[in-house]
Amino acid sequence: MTNAVANAGARAARWFGRFVWDFVIGDTPELALATGVIVAVAFLLDGSEWAGAILLPLLAAGFLLASTLRGRRRAPSRPARP
């Protein structure tokens, strides 16, 4: 009985862990990493005004560009040979 409960708990924990992983990280781990960097930079800019207001959106935009470029499919550079 105790084993069954423990197994069910372990299964639920694994399911929840996978769910959170897929939800937050999924196929774009670079965005999770980007968020971590932005949070760290925000703490470094504690007390600032314009520096934070300019740098944080700029960082987000930069990481977004990198992630979007990673996600796109490159067009063939030359036509395929017959």
Partner: protein, 262 residues
């Protein structure tokens, strides 16, 4: 809290909930048509109930017991991950690198899959209920709704407006339910991709704002920085879309991938 940021909060929650519920409706209608309406509606109602309990169980303690600055950093980070993800998909879709979300296609695929399920047809179940129809409707509403719950809790908790955020989400649920009941089919006419783009812009703006605010950055103009950030991310979205569309065009087979992706 400034009126403009409250308005952005309401629009973000309402928009996010609207698109997610339109996607959930497709699965509920597919389950209802192919496996019977009773089980599909019960599954959807059960999922809404579980989600509402989640909002109360997680949201209220967050507001009461977690220090506001720590809460804002956590919430901001979560919104940033979600928002940048939505914005990335929106840019790829509008530049032709990813197929737009297509409710009709998802509906057809789900109905075909459910009708292909053999052995436990709805009419043959002794209780008159169909477990497969229930599960598909429950899973659809629950999974689509989880993202909404996160957004409601995050935005509501960070601004101490959980009630308002929950109301905005409930309004979207009621609207989609009423329209869904009236037309009894998936809502493929709703401009989901446009709404998702707008929500992605708003979530990213809130994310950057709350991360900065929680970490001690003093935003010029205080809450008025939120609509400014919305404008910045809108320009970023337009610029990146134009860049990808003109300078880095998609390969011809690119849109065949991810048609049914959320």
């Amino acid at each position: 809290m400034h009126t403009s940021s409250t308005l952005v909060l309401v629009l973000a929650v309402f928009g996010a909930c609207l698109v997610e519920m339109v996607e959930a409706l497709t699965l509920v209608v597919a389950a209802g048509v192919s496996r019977g309406w009773r089980s599909a509606l019960e599954g959807a109602a059960a999922a809404v109930l579980v989600l509402a309990v989640l909002v109360l169980a997680v949201g209220v303690p967050l507001i009461r017991y977690v220090p506001i600055d720590a809460l804002r950093v956590i919430v901001g980070a979560l919104l940033l991950v979600l928002g940048l993800g939505w914005l990335r998909k929106a840019i790829l879709r509008s530049s032709g690198h990813k197929a737009p979300h297509d409710e009709d296609k998802i509906y057809d695929e789900t109905v075909a899959e459910l009708r292909g399920e053999s052995g436990d047809a709805p009419s043959g179940h002794p209780t008159g209920r169909d477990p497969v129809g229930f599960a598909v409707a429950f899973k659809g509403v629950f999974l689509e709704g989880t993202e909404v719950v996160l957004i409601v809790i995050s935005l509501g908790a960070a601004q101490h407006r959980l009630g308002l955020a929950a109301l905005a989400a409930a309004a979207a649920v009621v609207l989609v339910t009423v329209v869904g009941v009236l037309v009894s089919r998936q809502l493929s006419e709703v401009p989901e991709n446009t709404i998702k783009t707008a929500v992605g812009i708003m979530l990213s703006s809130f994310g950057v704002f709350w991360v900065g605010e929680g970490a001690g950055v003093h935003w010029p103009g205080s809450d008025l920085a939120i609509p400014v950030l919305v404008g910045v991310f809108l320009v970023v979205y337009l610029a990146y879309t134009a860049l990808l569309r003109t300078l880095l065009p998609a390969a011809p087979d690119a849109v065949s991938e991810g048609v049914t992706a959320p």
